[in-house]
């Protein structure tokens, strides 16, 4: 076959970042930001996220909660991302986000309410500008681009401070047009937004390899002409550093970035799923050796920053926090039936008044019947 002479016009490299390997050994000098206090705090937060996940799954099993998506094994992403943000940055979550939400100040009780079938959980008392959890895959990425535009606009036109939008999605989400459209817009409009992909190797039962032929998820940034980086998503120092650097660049007007955090989903997709139908047990077992708490724990202990006493104190404290939140969740009075109309529009249109009345009557009947 004829071999034409080709002229190179563009070249790209994708890099990988890691600080702590599977054995908890530093593979390079840690960043200055990784102070003992911070590392301990990150360890605690990851542990809390894991605890909330564990309890939530139990609650679901006993009918006290609806379908729940655990982050087991992916705590370094949520906590790492959340801790890299400033309080007034805006987070645009997907649904597998317990770690991030906790870091952002969302109450455990609120998280439980959301998955317990109650919209009131999305009315975060703190993190009041963060977006609610988002179920339709990848859509939050475009919302994040819009938020980033607004933040930039309000900075430039209305003299507000420089803030950044941060958002996360799964590996499966990278196949959906929204992902690429958001990256592309962010690139061409140079928006202050950081996109994080929690590449946990599965989209329910669909393996990463069946999702895309690209060697990395990070390289998808090239299509949009933006920065792309792959990090060890089980290494919270790598996650936090990469996200933090990207946020800083975005805040400085240098535009968006895509960060692929390589993790593994150590749990079922949600409580409605049974991963044993499709996930090879060996893969799972191998992945357990790479999980994020283990390696940070080893590192902290080797540095003399953690011991059995600290561990058991933490477990006790967090168990109390969790049970307190659970009580609060379970003792919350149910919303009135009319709540379904309360926030549909800013005020109830006249055309809906009759339906509202009907629902109110229905509520009264239900109340009468149930007590």
């Amino acid at each position: 076959m004829h071999k034409p002479r080709l002229h190179p016009v563009a070249s790209f490299d994708i890099h990988f970042l890691q600080y702590l390997d599977e054995q908890g050994q530093a593979t390079q000098a840690l960043p200055d930001s990784a102070t003992p206090d911070l590392l301990q705090a990150l360890y605690r937060q990851m542990n809390l996220a894991r605890l909330v996940d564990k309890r939530a799954v139990q609650l679901q099993r006993t009918g006290r909660l609806g379908t729940y998506p655990s982050s087991l094994g992916q705590e370094a992403v949520g906590v790492g991302v959340g801790s890299a943000m400033q309080a007034d940055d805006v987070y645009c979550p997907y649904y597998r986000e317990t770690g991030t939400l906790l870091e952002r100040g969302v109450e455990i009780e609120e998280i439980l309410a959301i998955w317990g079938g109650d919209e009131r959980g999305q009315d975060y008392q703190h993190a009041a500008e963060d977006l609610p959890l988002c179920v339709p895959i990848a859509t939050q990425l475009l919302h994040a681009a819009g938020v980033a535009f607004a933040l930039q606009y309000k900075h430039r036109q209305l003299d507000e401070p420089t803030r950044v939008a941060v958002t996360c999605a799964g590996d499966g989400a990278t196949s959906k047009g929204d992902f690429y459209e958001a990256l592309n817009l962010a690139g061409v409009w140079k928006l202050p937004v950081v996109f994080i992909i929690n590449n946990n190797q599965w989209a329910i039962s669909v393996a990463r390899s069946a999702q895309t032929a690209s060697a990395t998820i990070a390289q998808k940034a090239i299509a949009a002409g933006i920065q792309g980086l792959q990090v060890d998503g089980n290494d919270i120092i790598a996650v936090r550093t990469a996200v933090s650097d990207a946020i800083q660049r975005a805040r400085g007007g240098e535009g968006p970035a895509l960060i692929e955090a390589v993790t593994y989903r150590l749990c079922d997709h949600t409580t409605a799923d049974d991963a044993s139908r499709y996930c090879p047990p060996e893969a799972l077992e191998q992945a357990w050796a790479r999980e994020p708490l283990l390696r940070l724990g080893v590192y902290l202990r080797e540095q003399g920053l953690w011991d059995d006493g600290a561990e058991s104190d933490m477990q006790r404290e967090q168990a109390e926090i969790m049970e307190g939140a659970l009580r609060a969740y379970e003792s919350r009075p149910p919303a009135a039936v009319t709540a379904m109309f309360d926030h549909l529009y800013a005020s109830l249109p006249e055309a809906l008044r009759e339906q509202y009345q009907e629902v109110r009557e229905l509520g009264r009947r239900v109340e009468r019947e149930s007590g």
């Binding site: 609806g66 379908t67 649904y95 959301i114 998955w115 317990g116 079938g117 109650d118 919209e119 179920v135 339709p136 895959i137 990848a138 499966g172 989400a173 196949s175 959906k176 047009g177 989209a203 329910i204 039962s205 669909v206 069946a210 999702q211 895309t212 409605a272 799923d273 139908r277 499709y278 149910p334 919303a335 039936v337 709540a339 379904m340 109309f341 549909l344 055309a351 809906l352 339906q355 009907e358 629902v359 229905l362 509520g363 009947r365 239900v366």
Partner: protein
Amino acid sequence: MAEITLLEAVNQALAHELEADARVVLFGQDIGANGGVFRATDGLQQRFGTERVMDTPLAENMIAGIAVGMAVQGLRPVAEFQFMGFIYPGLDHILSHAARYRNRTRGRLSCPIVYRAPYGGGIHAPEHHSESTEAIFAHIPGLRVVVPSSPARAYGLLLAAIRDPDPVVFLEPKRIYRAVRQEVPDSGEALPLDRCFRLREGDDITLVAWGAALKETLQAADILAESGIEAEVIDPATLKPLDIHTIIDSLEKTGRCVVVHEAARFAGLGAEIATQINEYAFDLLKAPVQRVTGYDTVMPYYRLEDSYLPDCERITAAVRNTLDYPPGGAR
């Protein structure tokens, strides 16, 4: 013969057509090894191979769009959307292409596609997992919209949908996926896509309902029967094109009608049915057609979803109102 659920009937119909017709291919998210999140495709990839039963990447617009390309090349694609709430990214391809390819090319190319999706609320699922927006699809010229509500109808209508030369949106009422069991012989016999099903005979009032709402509608009919009110219950099953004549025939007897659907009321299909009843049977009507429907608000998170869905009590109340029409008594 074993009795099977609606869900198993779907599986049986899919298997039947995969076996019978080499042009049939299935694809969607998690339909392979996982057998679908509801197990509608359980065992099919194992049996028919990864070239005929395929997991796709996560993109509904893509799922809707590639079906068009497959179909115009003579395949019989059956595409699954995991939940109806995730079908919207695919609407453009369904509306702008699948429904129009035959027309656009004057019959040269056509789109015999089945777009399947579990639909409806009531299973305590997260947001977006409880949609009933059949009216959106029923408004689109060139589509068929089919909702089965029993195992036998699921089997027969799905066979018909796959064999139909034009695109069909096939909505499976997931709340009753496992509600009842029925003997459904794997006969390969399709049911017609242009006929309503009369599920119960009665002279006093006509109830029209489809999907999971039929459960409460039939219950309501039983309750009403206890007080001597005999309701005729009609399941249109194929919502578009709609067989209005079976409904009108029933109205000739009853003169009264209540339409029940889970979907929001405003611009829902209840309106179309009520309007056609007025157009065809104005003089027969002894009372206005009443609608018992989901409210014109977002389906609430699951704690309140039961209050959103039409229940037996709302249906019987509407029937009694209709029978008591006009309220004062005189007309």
